[in-house]
Symmetry: C2
Subunit: 80 residues, 2 copies
DNA sequence: CGAAAATTTATGTCAAGCTTAAATTTTGGA
DNA sequence: TCCAAAATTTAAGCTTGACATAAATTTTCG
């Protein structure tokens, strides 16, 4: 997956524990853990907004796109 | 909603039409239109990745968080 | 005007966001 | 080296909403 979640880095920079964040924004520790380790396939903006608010950062600080040529082949399947 | 979608700006900068983008990344024009006008409540990373790939930009260029104090009160409801 | 292009509305499907609970693993101090 | 607390993972389920297609409505512009 070319969208990398950099939550751990931001968390470390703010010297905040995942648990604190979870409590602060009202999301389960379970889900936050899955999110941190990149095991989710998307986010609700409401959740993203709360993360940004709590960490005082931008969406781009949490989500970074790692370029992958394959992403552009999305519409052209059946190439075989 | 404090997450602002800046797709139109990026699109304009790249001088690309929404329709071209939709075709390029394989998403319906309908949905892309809803997305552009901020009428969706979230994104799948697969879609975000394709947008970034096609526009050659970062996730942060498309999604920006507009600070809103209210976001932190997310967990404290029942305040009345 | 009028037709093509773009946006919106309507409807529906199905994936997955997120939760709670329990199991498993990791961590760190005594 | 233990063991208990903390953190992560697994499991199961509820519910939302991403995204699609089709049709209606609106906008664009020659």
């Amino acid at each position: 997956m070319p969208i990398r979640i950099a939550l751990d880095e931001v968390l470390a920079a703010k010297k905040m524990k995942a648990k604190q964040l979870a409590t602060l924004i009202g999301v389960s520790e379970t889900h936050l853990s899955l999110f941190r380790s990149g095991k989710v396939r998307g986010v609700r903006f409401s959740t993203l907004a709360r993360l940004c608010a709590a960490l005082n950062c931008q969406a781009g600080d949490l989500l970074t796109y790692v370029h992958d040529e394959a992403d552009l082949a999305a519409s052209e399947e059946a190439i075989e």
